[in-house]
Symmetry: D2
Subunit: 153 residues, 4 copies
């Protein structure tokens, strides 16, 4: 079994984003569950790798491909089997004007994922956001636009 | 055209709840729009009587028929064409234990609807909630259960 | 005892804003309590006319005098002893740039007050806000600035 | 300069909680700033060790000494100079009934602190909370009680 290192954490995300499920399963347990923070339409536990990947695809769909994560740092505890990746995240809703600053359109947050590893693969992950970013996240993910009209996702 | 009175406001809700669309259209303009407060999956403007009725049906579906509104008072301004109905609202999520007190399961709020009337029919409505009820409403409507698991509606 | 009319509701607010307590007490019971919506530092029941006036003064202080309410309509129910005044409210935090659009600096909401009248005076009032305005209100009233620094009020 | 290890992170918290400022300053820079998540009265950046300690004291005061943190794990990245401590946190407002389950009284969250270390001391810290815990935190820290009355802190 591979040692848990920062490099392996980055590899896990690369595999997840590759769209190659067989590759992803080298790092993510098929039964992995992921807790998205907040109380918006996609908050809560996503159960299983397939549901987690569907959520990630939804992020890209509703952001019109603008979703971007800039890595800040990665921490590991190989004894307990945990990793944390800290990131700055940016996205604009796909239907919104690219220069909108409304929190219903534009997301600018800094947060992290805590991943639990067993037998070389992630079995559980949870996200959390610094500052008042969870409120921003709830607004961005909601169906509500700045003028109160709805864009259901 | 009928005068705007408290009695007429009660009749409008009775017609809306009757499930008889022809009857509802005597009080609600087919193009009526309704603004549900908050930033949860059903927040924002519901456009048209059909969408508004679909939202009301959703309320009854997700509450397993427990949704209840106790009227407190009705106010009208016939000159400006506005009514306000104040209500206490109770509901428990259909999948939840009937004695759960978690805000993700149980809703107990007091709020109101401001309706704009034109030519004897409602053309626009907006809801608002007293106290910290909008936060409670956001939690209740969210897919999140008390343990963080999801029940998508 | 005076009849409850829209004109009397406007007079009550004029008396309240006059700074003349004796005048205010002609319309507001000394034991009046007022429920400010949300969960921010000034949310909850303000007990007594003195505490309510102190809250209003705080609004003007933290907004650097920019707080403004544009009346939309007033409704009354003289039988039950209720009035509702609907308003559009604008304010910018006193320490903020006047052109800031951050919800931590700039407040633009539409809401209302429901007042309960007894013996010609208001004995209880409660505010409520349309759309996602309660979240905006929570952010505006918080000590948090757009960059996360604090300005305690 | 000491190597950044999990043991040193635990020592830093022990020193902080000891009430011995000279001891705390062996681990925490006097200019340390700490970002408390959310938009409640104590959210935002607390600037300087003295302000940070005052915030911690406030936590114990408003919780009537019930505040408790159970450690889950600690992760470090000695190259980048970061640590993360994951904790389960429990508290009941000091004025509340000890068996209250209202989120305005009782706090049960799981979250973490990301600490930035320079020259063997923490220069910056930020908290973040999993699930919908930030909403729970905003409610718990607010002056609002379950019945809407206020207890200012």
């Amino acid at each position: 079994m591979s040692e848990l290192t920062a490099a392996r954490v980055y590899e896990a995300y690369d595999a997840l984003m590759s769209g190659d499920l067989a590759k992803a399963e080298q790092y993510w347990d098929p039964a992995v569950r992921f807790l998205t923070p907040g109380h918006h339409p996609y908050a809560g536990w996503h159960e299983g790798l397939e549901a987690f990947v569907a959520f990630i695809n939804k992020v890209h769909e509703v952001s019109g491909g603008t979703f971007a994560m800039d890595p800040v740092t990665v921490l590991v505890n190989d004894v307990d089997g945990y990793s944390v990746d800290v990131n700055r995240t940016y996205a604009t809703r796909g239907h919104a004007s690219s220069d909108s600053t409304s929190p219903f359109d534009r997301l600018e947050i800094e947060g992290l994922h805590l991943l639990k590893w067993e037998n070389g693969r992630v079995v559980e992950g949870r996200g959390a956001i610094f500052g008042d970013g969870t409120t921003a996240f709830n607004m961005w993910w909601s169906p509500v636009n700045p003028d109160g009209t709805r864009t259901v996702v």
